[in-house]
């Protein structure tokens, strides 16, 4: 090997001689002595294939007898080469040198972030020779995507996750929303499935926005995966509380996803397969813009079907295993125009959950078939003119849900045609003052049908009901960021109007956030604001997959109430409940300190007080007792941001989440109880490190308080069986959860592709974590129902 210092000296000498592109007298002599030819070379990153722009290329005579191709290892450099040429690649990674002595030459590439690379190349070829230069192991491989600046938003404590972090986080299988569960302020979910529990708020009180529009749902059926892959996002921002006035109809927190533009440096993509799903994506330039297309298909149904067929042959018993199927797809176009950019995005997701078919393909007796899907097309235009910045994004979404029960031929279908629109204009009037005005609107026209023969005499036509209607949510918001030196204020306000078929409700939400730069590396953040959300008035049909007390052999299993959030459902139409608006007050106060250039410490105290606006029926009858939710706590995050080799963080959340009774039942004197998502302690330690030879190892360790559950305090002898006598709701608590997950990635970098294999092992030391409670037939004895044991997942991915 030639020491790099010596090689650098050669470059320096070359530059000193003033020979970046032109030949010296010695070189002229070389050309005169032999025939000269041109040399065209294109440099690309090995594996990723992006062009290496502004890279230095030195060309000298080839070693004696060397064959064409990479020199591995390269022989020592000659002290005084007979001739030499030096060139710099253009934006496409190409050079063309016209006066190179004909024959084989030695090409030496020096590019920052890449290994020194040498190859023997034949001159005079009609087509350029492509050289694939390996990435330096000192630099982590990652795709860099330019982001377009968004509108000004309140700088409340929030967290960003990069695509690489999402992809390599242990235990999250590359799923973006499940990756968020490792951050402070986000609760652990029952069964480690997908839900967003932000600072103790119920998942239905938080929203996920993609491209400025709320997603109808964030997870596929049974919450096994997010409805979009990490690869399509530019940015994933978690705001667990005190979010900006631009977002409404939520009283918990928000997750903001900004889709990214496709790459323009060639056709790229990936295909991935693991134990549960296969996915693929392709992106590249299209005219002056770019495109991205991708799709994902879960195939648990196929695996379960195969397993059932084998089981049926062996045991002779018919399977009753549910088979979940899901898919999602994405297609995005981004183009520049003279005043900004415009984009068109189409994406959607579909799910099906059904009991097994009979041999004849019909639904088995007593079975059900649940289907739901949404398909959305967004357009987005960003522009700037005369100091104003504009963002306008209309969207149309078609949504459908169907639930069919074989028993009684009960079928419920709802179709939604949703027009959504967001528009914003902002202007920086001075160095200190910016103003933004925006509006978001969602108009949902729905058609719901219901049909049933349940309880009807044979031959009677089924009962049928069909309802059409319109539901709307309109928000108008404004913020006025003020820059007062060390103090940055973002006052804002939002007005909301909600309508159903016959009702309307309104709310007004003032909000303010402030940051104070205490010192170079210190700042304080504070925010207070009001948040509103219309309560659901739509009647729904729900699959009770997790009924409390469901039989488990002779015993009965009782789940924490948090589990009920996984139950699939289909809406129908607004019932006879008054439309009310849940209202919450968020307060947070915290500090940030940069301990190093890439190490930050954040500590935030927070509180949320919410009036649940318990609705009444149209006739004034109460259907539930009035309650308030009260969450208080603090979260801390010590984070090493993604740099060369290491990223990771230590996160901790201390929280009390309670439901307080404004009214109680006669004889009840309990003022409050733990909410369904109360988790006192939540500790996360995450680290991922790049090892030599393209290995990466990561780990995640979590310690989380158990979920509250309603204990069975005794039983009642009911002759044919025993019935559970349940205690006060959420009076019991499952044991502490702790778990270590490990993930090892290995990359094999080829010229035109990168192959990544990984093994992700959940629950490495096989901790018996309780997820539910199993009671004996007489309810006198109980055992924990244990969650996922040690569980390895294998995956294979090819990037190109």
């Amino acid at each position: 090997m030639v020491p790099l210092r010596r090689f650098a000296g050669l470059i320096a000498a070359t530059l000193t001689l003033g020979l970046p592109c032109a030949a010296s007298a010695q070189d002229d002599a070389a050309c005169e002595a032999q025939v000269c030819a041109s040399l065209s070379v294109v440099l690309k990153a090995r594996g990723e294939r992006q062009p290496l722009a502004q890279s230095r290329v030195i060309i000298i005579p080839s070693p004696e007898g060397a064959e064409e191709g990479p020199l591995q290892p390269p022989p020592p450099l000659p002290e005084n080469p007979a001739w030499q040429r030096v060139a710099t690649t253009d934006d496409a990674g190409s050079i063309q040198v016209l006066d190179v002595p004909s024959g084989r030459v030695r090409v030496i590439v020096v590019a920052p972030g890449y290994e020194r690379f040498e190859a023997v190349v034949q001159t005079g070829r009609a087509k350029p020779t492509t050289l694939f230069v390996p990435t330096s192991e000192e630099t982590s491989y990652r795709t860099v995507v330019e982001t377009s600046g968004g509108p000004p938003r309140a700088e409340v404590p929030s967290q960003l996750l990069s695509r690489e972090e999402i992809r390599t986080l242990p235990g999250s299988q590359g799923d973006p929303l499940r990756a968020l569960q490792n951050l402070p302020g986000v609760g652990r979910t029952p069964g480690n499935l997908g839900l967003l529990i932000l600072r103790g708020a119920s998942p239905d009180q938080s929203r996920v926005y993609m491209g400025g529009h709320a997603l109808p749902r964030a997870f596929h059926v049974l919450s096994v995966a997010s409805v979009f892959p990490a690869e399509v996002l530019d940015e994933l921002r978690l705001v667990p509380g005190n979010f900006d006035a631009a977002y409404g109809n939520a009283t918990g927190g928000v997750v903001l996803i900004e889709p990214r533009a496709g790459r323009r440096d060639g056709l790229h993509g990936f295909s991935e397969i693991d134990i549960a799903a296969a996915s693929t994506m392709l992106e590249g330039p299209l005219g002056k813009g770019s495109f991205v297309v991708g799709a994902q298909r879960g195939y648990a149904d196929l695996l379960l079907n195969a397993a059932d067929r084998i089981s049926e042959r062996v045991t002779g018993e018919t399977s009753s295993t549910l088979r979940p199927t899901y898919y999602d797809y994405q297609g995005m176009l981004d183009f520049p125009w003279k005043r900004g950019t415009w984009s068109v995005r189409a994406f959607g997701a579909g799910d099906r959950l059904q009991t097994p078919d009979t041999d004849q393909g019909a639904l088995a007796r007593g079975g059900f078939d649940y289907r739901t899907s949404f398909h959305r097309v967004d357009a987005a235009v960003r522009a700037a003119q005369d100091g104003w910045r504009f963002w306008w994004t209309p969207s149309f979404r078609y949504e459908s849900g169907r639930l069919f029960f074989d028993a009684g031929d009960q079928e419920q279908i709802r179709r939604d045609y949703v027009l959504s629109m967001r528009g914003e204009m902002s202007r920086r009037f001075s160095r200190r003052f910016t103003w933004l005005l925006g509006t978001d609107l969602e108009v949902d026209g729905f058609v719901a049908t219901s049909e049933s023969s349940l309880g009807l005499p044979p031959g009677t036509p089924p009962s049928f009901d069909r309802v059409r209607g319109l539901e709307t949510a309109l928000g108008v918001y404004t913020t006025a960021p003020l820059d007062l030196g060390r103090v940055h204020l973002v006052p804002g306000a939002r007005g909301n109007a909600f309508t159903t078929r016959t009702q309307a409700a309104f709310s007004f939400d003032p909000r303010v956030a402030a940051t104070v730069d205490v010192a170079d590396r210190w700042r304080i953040l504070a925010a207070v604001g009001k948040y509103s959300q219309a309560r659901e008035v739509t009647e729904t049909a729900t699959l009770n997959l997790l009924d409390q007390g469901a039989s488990f052999g002779d015993a009965s299993v009782f789940y924490p109430p948090a589990f009920t959030r996984f139950q699939p459902s289909v809406g129908f139409a607004p019932g006879n409940r008054q439309l009310t608006v849940r209202q919450a007050l968020h307060v947070s106060l915290g500090g940030e300190v940069a301990l190093d250039d890439d190490v930050d410490l954040e500590v935030t105290a927070f509180a949320r007080e919410q009036d649940n606006a318990t609705p009444t029926l149209f006739d004034g009858q109460r259907i539930d007792f009035a309650t308030r939710e009260h969450n208080i706590g603090a979260q801390a995050l010590l984070r090493k941001r993604l740099t060369n080799k290491l990223y990771g963080w230590i996160g901790y959340t201390l929280m009390w989440s309670q439901l307080r009774f404004v009214e109680t039942a006669p004889g009840e004197d309990i003022p409050s109880r733990p909410s369904d998502f109360d988790q006192r302690h939540n500790f996360n330690l995450v680290a991922s490190y790049i090892l030599p030879k393209n290995w990466r190892i990561g780990g995640r360790f979590r310690v989380v308080s158990g979920f509250p559950f309603t204990p069975v305090i005794g039983s009642i002898n009911l002759a044919e069986q025993r019935g559970a006598v349940q205690g006060r709701r959420n009076e019991g608590r499952l044991g502490t959860f702790h778990q270590l997950d490990l993930r090892i990635d290995k990359r094999w970098i080829r010229d035109r592709a990168i192959i990544t294999g990984y093994v992700d092992v959940q629950n490495v030391y096989n901790r018996q974590n309780p997820e539910a409670v199993l009671y004996s037939a007489d309810f006198r004895r109980q055992e924990d129902v244990i969650g996922i044991p040690i569980f390895p997942t294998l995956g294979l991915r090819v990037d190109y």
Partner: protein, 356 residues
């Protein structure tokens, strides 16, 4: 609208869900003690029987060797719980219960307490209140079945004043019936407490339906089958004897008797019902053929032994095969017998187990 599907559909779904991928993915069920094994005192059953007949029940035919189970309004109902201990049935004088008479809307649901309210029990009875609780703790309960109320088009169910009876209690002073009621009200753990509920069975059915029709209920007796109308008043099945076979030795044992066995023995036990338990009667078909109808009798078994196979499934019949466990000592076997009208009684047997 379809806000919630019927219980039947829900239970079907739960059946599917038992094998669902979700359950498989999120949880693995641990082993838990078998249901037939008695490790601490447990309530096995409750016998409802006729006490002093009321105005509608006089005159009554001779009940034979079994008490009547079915009652009519104004009859006195006797309620006798059976609690199995580790050394035989606990004597009634060692038990105390508060008894709750439930209205037609029932306190069974309230007692079940799946997030519901406490039953509102007053010390005096009226048909419109959910339930009535006995004034003092007693070993057994007795009360007069309320008479019919006048049914109205708005409240056709008012003709059924009572739906069942519940018992809440414990061994005397351990912790005591009132403590158990308070625990139930406070939703505190019910350790040591026994809670039972049984629906009332009205009969003879023909007489009951006629009385119901006379009270204004919309009943067309022509639509009721002759078999139902002709059914005699149901009686409580009881265990007089069981046949016990150990190896090739067979014998008969009366409740409370002691049987000697060895560890590892296979013991087959079978209840031998008497004719009175079957409540047989005849009806005649339209063709004039006589049809004999008899009661369906079922049994369930428990033991204090560490048995490997036992049967508490009432649908399995009245016999059981018991492989005696490896631990010598005194073991007890309990048998609950029940008929199709949910009339039931409990018997027990003592087994001295020697080392085999």
């Amino acid at each position: 609208m379809v806000a919630c599907y019927s219980a039947n559909v829900r239970s079907t779904i739960v059946g599917w869900a038992a094998g669902s991928v979700l359950v498989c993915a999120t949880a693995c069920g641990p082993d838990i003690t078998e249901p037939w094994q008695i490790l601490e005192p447990i309530d096995l059953g409750m016998t409802l029987s006729l006490g002093t007949p009321g105005a509608f029940s006089v005159p009554l035919p001779d009940p034979g060797s079994r008490p009547y189970h079915q009652v009519l309004p104004l009859d006195e109902l006797l309620v006798t719980p059976s609690v199995a201990g580790l050394d035989g049935l606990i004597p009634l004088e060692d038990l105390e219960f508060r008894y709750v008479v439930c209205s037609a809307t029932g306190c069974g649901e309230a007692l079940n307490r799946a997030d519901g309210d406490l039953p509102v029990c007053a010390s005096t009875g009226a048909a419109e209140i959910p339930c009535v609780m006995s004034a003092d703790p007693t070993p057994t309960g007795s009360f007069v079945v309320p008479t019919f109320t006048e049914a109205t088009p708005d409240d056709p169910g008012a003709a059924f004043p009572t739906s069942g009876v519940a018992a809440i209690g414990s061994r005397t002073g351990a912790p005591g019936a009132d403590v158990c009621v308070a625990r139930l009200r406070d939703r505190a753990p019910l350790g040591g407490c026994f809670v039972l509920f049984r629906s009332l069975s009205f009969g003879p059915q023909g007489t009951f339906l006629e009385l119901l029709e006379e009270s204004g209920a919309d009943i067309d007796l022509d639509d009721i089958s002759e078999a139902a109308l002709a059914a005699p008043r149901n009686r409580v099945p009881q265990v007089d004897a069981v046949t016990i076979t150990v190896g090739t030795n067979a014998g008969t044992a009366a409740p409370g008797s002691t049987i000697n066995v060895s560890t590892g023995d296979t013991v087959r036990m079978q209840w031998v019902p008497s004719d009175d338990d079957f409540d047989e009667y005849s009806v005649f078909t339209e063709e004039g053929d006589e049809l004999r109808i008899s009661d369906l009798l079922l049994g369930a078994w428990w033991t204090t032994d560490d048995a490997t196979a036992f049967d508490v499934d009432l649908t399995s019949g009245t016999s059981v095969e018991w492989v005696v466990g490896n631990e010598p000592g005194t073991k007890y076997v309990y048998l609950l017998v029940r008929d199709a009208s949910a009339a039931e009684s409990v018997a027990w047997f003592r087994f001295d187990v020697s080392q085999g």
